[in-house]
């Protein structure tokens, strides 16, 4: 069963325990200076944003059908059955198409490195596979970040909105966006002000569909194109041979009227 992270901004207290736990889990440095950084980067996979005392946690959305996975030419990014979108640096050649393609701007780059890696939240795949919650969910003191089965979390999110409709926007971010994601967000403040694409701007079709519609035609195009071009070549050259043969005949007959 597919797992998910549910983040409920109304329960969040901006303690940044999730940031610290994430850094520790991924062997990244974490101190007061990094805690104060309000952007995600190659050394900060998740961030709690504060806009007028409204909070929002940003992290990889772990799409069900991720654009990054579909565009990676070497398959360095993979969507696992449990939900996490993982990255294998050994395969990566650094084309950064994943960064260009991600609608949430999640993959970050080690711009200063000579052997740069893509960096992003990978949803603690080892922990998840072992049946543990993600590091951030485990560290969260208020339950704002909760880990569990995706279907159950969606149900729980619906219940929370129904029970406290005044506390929430009537929208679970991630149920339908780009075909559904394994990170689900609840908020009382507009998602857009935290840099998330507005739910209206995102299609409910998975983004890989947009390129697949074109790519899936290639297997037909190649043989048909070959036959077509070969046919045109045959016709144009055959026409020329016929014309040559005809003009030779005409010449033999010493007769200008044959044409």
């Amino acid at each position: 069963m597919s797992k998910a992270i549910l983040y409920d901004a109304t329960l969040c207290i901006d303690c940044k325990q999730c940031e610290a736990a994430c850094a520790k889990q991924n062997n990244l440095p974490y101190d007061d200076k990094i805690a104060a950084e309000e952007v995600q980067s190659a050394h900060k996979f998740t961030v709690v944003l504060n806009k007028n005392d409204k909070y929002m946690r940003r992290l990889c959305m772990h799409c069900d059908e991720p654009a990054c996975v579909s565009v990676c030419p070497v398959g360095a990014l993979q969507k696992t059955a449990l939900g996490p979108v993982t990255y294998d640096a050994h395969k990566c050649m650094g084309c950064r198409y994943c960064m260009a393609a991600c609608p949430f701007g999640q993959p970050k780059y080690e711009w200063g490195s000579l052997n740069p890696k893509i960096q992003k939240c990978i949803m603690c795949p080892d922990r998840v596979a072992a049946g543990l919650p993600t590091a951030c969910a485990e560290a969260c003191p208020t339950g704002a970040t909760k880990f569990g089965d995706r279907d159950a979390l969606i149900q729980e999110a619906r219940d929370r909105i129904r029970q406290n409709p005044n506390n929430y926007l009537p929208h679970i971010y991630g149920v339908e966006e780009v075909g559904g994601t394994s990170t689900l967000l609840l908020s009382s403040a507009a998602f857009e002000q935290f840099g998330l694409p507005s739910p209206k701007s995102l299609p409910s079709d998975p983004l890989p569909m947009y390129t697949y519609r074109v790519l899936s035609r290639i297997p037909d195009f190649v043989p048909l194109g070959g036959i077509f071009l070969g046919g045109v070549w045959w016709i144009t050259h055959r026409r020329e041979e016929v014309a040559a043969a005809e003009s030779a005949e005409t010449e033999e007959k010493h007769n200008g009227g044959a044409r």
Partner: protein, 392 residues
């Protein structure tokens, strides 16, 4: 041999020095130091210009070989070789540029064994790799001729038609796929440029630019190498270019109407100015010029139209890859000097290699009259024999 110090040689050396300096920065300090790219803006001019425009500018190779060998338009044969040379150099330089842009260039071979057929980039990688090989083989006959290696020459000439067909298919695929790359970004790319028809637009404009580059390159060659201009051929190319531009224009207009963008293209704004710059350079100006018979038939008019088309579609590629992404990214990308210097050095090396190839290899027919006569005489012979003759 004494090397004369001319203005252009000095410029060339300066560009090479700056390019070398940029290269050192890139490979000792990384992409962050060598570019103004960022997490918000991961692709800059090395992708937008060097790769997208580089591949587009080299499109003359497949356009001309298709016309001459498949459609059997033998009149155009005299300009096939310089065009194939341009294409071959173009693709090699695109690969060189990729080595700068890829974060881990030493892994560039990975798509050979790590395959993701759902990735447009994977498809482009394969097509570019295979098509560069095709161009190398097409080009190899010129080298083999030079060194009179008859056996491999015979082999290449025998395989020429299949090679050309494969080349046309591969080109159709990756020229359009460079547009398909952007189909995954419906929320990022500005609606002036995001369209389900992007692959079609990229393909059609590649043909237009292929023709325009052939006109441009023939005009320049005739001046630089003091050769008689192949004016009748260029006039015909100009007419075909005019038609291709019309087809592109109608499709582009229809697409804007269908997507309900007709109002926004008249609302002033950053994207609007670049949109109109592109439309003016690539379509309106050259289409007006080419519609006038006396302009279309004059060397100067053809040259100007070709230059406009080339500049216009370069603007188009940069709009798709840079201008159209800026508002999503929330920042204004201006390339760093190293990005310019490396790009300039790559272009300069391209020009130099073209000059060297013309000097040492049988690229141009020796005399124009001979070339024309040969065309008529050999009209009866099978294509492969003809190919062998006409380049001499």
């Amino acid at each position: 041999m004494k090397i004369k110090l001319t203005f252009w040689r000095v410029v060339f050396v300066i560009i090479l020095i700056l390019g070398a300096w940029g290269t050192v920065v890139r490979f000792t300090q990384g992409l962050g130091a060598a570019t103004n790219l960022s997490d918000q803006f991961p692709w800059g001019i090395w992708i937008g210009f060097d790769v997208l425009c580089g591949v587009m500018l080299a499109a003359g190779g497949f356009t001309l070989t298709a016309a001459v060998y498949i459609l059997n338009i033998k009149r155009w044969h005299a300009i096939v070789r310089p065009t194939v040379l341009t294409a071959f150099l173009g693709y090699v330089l695109v690969c060189v540029a990729l080595m700068f842009d890829l974060g881990r260039p030493y892994n560039i071979w990975h798509p050979l064994i790590m395959r993701n057929p759902h990735s447009v980039m994977f498809e482009v990688a394969y097509c570019v790799m295979l098509y560069t090989t095709v161009l190398a083989l097409e080009f190899s006959q010129i080298v083999l001729e030079k060194f009179k290696l008859e056996k491999p020459l015979k082999f290449i000439r025998g395989a020429l038609i299949p090679l050309v067909i494969v080349g046309v298919i591969l080109s159709t695929l990756h020229q359009s796929s460079l547009g398909t790359l952007y189909l995954i970004m419906p929320t990022k790319l500005h609606p002036f440029w995001y369209s389900p028809l992007l692959p079609v637009f990229f393909f059609l404009s590649a043909i237009a630019v292929g023709l325009a580059m052939t006109i441009f390159e023939s005009s320049i060659s005739s001046k630089v190498f003091h050769r008689q201009l192949e004016l009748p051929i260029l006039q015909e190319l100009g007419r075909v270019l005019y038609i291709v531009l019309w087809v592109y224009f109608v499709l582009r207009l229809e697409d804007l109407v269908n997507r309900g963008e007709m109002h926004s293209i008249f609302v002033p704004g950053y994207e609007m100015y670049f949109f109109w710059l592109e439309i003016l350079l690539a379509l309106i100006a050259p289409m007006i010029l080419l519609s006038i018979r006396s302009v279309r038939n004059s060397p100067g008019g053809l040259y100007l139209s070709a230059v406009l088309v080339v500049l216009g579609f370069i603007t188009n590629r940069l709009n798709v890859s840079i201008t159209g992404i800026e508002s999503w990214s929330g920042l204004h990308y201006v390339p760093k000097w190293t990005e310019y210097s490396i790009t300039a050095a790559i272009i300069a090396v391209g020009f130099a290699l073209f000059g060297l190839a013309v000097k040492y290899l049988p690229i141009f027919p020796e005399e124009k009259e001979h070339g024309t006569v040969a065309t008529h005489e050999s009209a009866v012979e099978p294509a492969s024999v003809f190919v062998a003759n006409a380049g001499n």
